[in-house]
Every structure is written in C-alpha cells, then in structure tokens.
Subunit: 138 residues, 2 copies
DNA sequence: TATTGTTATACTCTATAACTATA
DNA sequence: TATAGTTATAGAGTATAACAATA
C-alpha cells in the first residue's frame, strides 16, 4: 500500500469538506424549493446583472441549460429577464425583490447550518482556518 | 449593512471552498461517464459491501433512487448485485474489478485536479490547513 | 458570417406512491 | 403486518444539435 503524501492528504480533506458542506446546503435549498445551482445564481446576481451567456460561463454550464434554469426561477418570481440595451440579441437576468428576500433568509439559514461543522475547532483555530481558506480562494 | 462576524466569514469561506472543489470533481467524474453520486458509491463500497437500503441511508437518498443508481452502474460493469445470505429480500451491492480500476484511476486524477486550488498557499500553510480540516472532520 | 438565446430531444438524478416478495 | 427492494411516474438539471433574430 502506497503511503499518502502530505498533499494527497490535503486534497482528500478538501474533498471530504466539500461533501460535508454541500449536504446541508443542498437540503436547505431544497426546503426552499430551490436547487443548489439556482441558489448560486441568486447569490451571483445579488450585486450585478449578467447576460444569459455570461451567467452560463460563470457557472460552467451550457447556454441552453441556463435558459431552463432562469425560466424556472422566473416562473417562481425570483428572477426576471430584461432586454439588454446595447445588444438586441442579449438578455439580462436580474433578481426580483422576492428573490432577494429568499436569498437573504437562506443566507442566514445556511450559516446556521454550517456552523456546527466547525464545532471541533477552538476559536483561534477557526480564525486561522478562515484565514487560510480566504487566502486559498483569493 | 450589517458587519459579518468572524464565524460568518468562516462559513462563507467553507461554502465557497465546497463549490470550487466540487466543480473539478464533477467534471472529472463526467469525463469518466459517472455522476458525483456514483463516484461516491464506488468510494464507499471500496472496502465493504452494503445493502441497497443502507447505501441509500448513508447518502441521504431514497431507496428507489438507489435502485436506479446501482442499475446504471451495474450496466456499466462497475457494480454488481448479489443476494444477501441472511435475508432473501435484501441485496448486497459490491464493486467489480472494473469498478475498482475506474475508482483508482479517478482518485489520482482528482488529486491532480484539486492540487492547483492550493497553489496560493506556502507548503507550511498547506500543512496547517490540512491539519485544521482533518481536525474539523474528525 | 458570427453570435445570442431558445427550442427540441435525450439521459441522469431525484422523489413519491404503488407494488412484490419475504420476514 | 412490517420491511427490502423494484417499478411507474413526474420534475429538475444537464448536454447536444438545430434554429431564429440580430450583429
């Protein structure tokens, strides 16, 4: 049996962390009648408006997939399509007031749901972990 | 605008880390013709055999969902169903040799795919991050 | 001609409800 | 009667390919 390297162990821990984080998030989104992807779209559009194609690229999805996601969120009243002023082919996607409310209430629920994950760490370790993750993501 | 607490920032960083980790993993699994869930099943069954219901519970899915997942993986030759010896109603799921090969090759590909995520950290910081994550997950 | 978004189609994932076989 | 798993059905997410409107 091959010994795992230090970096292998880090990568494994990142993977496990991702699964343990996604679980609660998926559940919470589902409770609100949303998929994780729709939740991400809501978060992304919180402070900007993007065209369908840009949104798709941002999420690594096909344009046609984005069309469907936006259509379903629009039917729920969370997003709206508005014509792009510069380019008549393009469509801007914006969050509605209702969408903003849902996003805000989910945001706090998610923080509450993820916090228990960090229970095993002392406050100083949580701070250090936060610093390291932020640096990694920068 | 409310100031974010230290813990809020940690939770946000965990969420972002999860998304940034899942992206590459999903892509790699897809390249191998697998969903992330099927990959997890392969990993879970690496060193044990579980019944359909136990697998479902482990993953937080319905039995009927598990039936489909196993059926598709079985059709690809990665998993096999074997009758449970104690209970004639039950079915054990096991990984085939082909499944083991796929899992092993994906494992190394995944490590390679996630490593760049940690580029911005010095070796000592990567080590510290690994320690903190392992402690958190313990 | 090239690009933006939509539509048509197909497959996977997921859940709920009804069912079969066994306990 | 209760449990294990399957089947039928339905909706969401995803991709590919073909298409219409605009650039």
């Amino acid at each position: 049996m091959q010994e795992m390297t230090e970096d292998d162990r880090l990568v494994d821990a990142l993977g496990e962390t991702a699964f343990r984080t996604m679980g609660p998030l998926t559940g919470l989104a589902a409770d609100a009648g949303l998929s994780l992807t729709q939740l991400r779209v809501l978060a992304i559009l919180r402070d900007r408006r993007l065209r369908i194609g840009d949104l798709a690229q941002y999420l690594g999805l096909e344009k046609s997939t984005m069309t469907g996601l936006v259509a379903r969120a629009e039917k729920k009243g969370l997003l709206a399509r508005v014509p792009n002023e510069q380019d008549a082919r393009a469509v801007d996607v914006v969050v509605t007031d209702a969408g903003r409310e849902v996003a805000a209430s989910l945001e706090s629920a998610m923080r509450a749901a993820l916090l228990p994950l960090t229970d095993r760490l002392a406050a100083s370790d949580r701070r250090r972990l936060r610093e390291l993750l932020e640096q990694m993501l920068r």
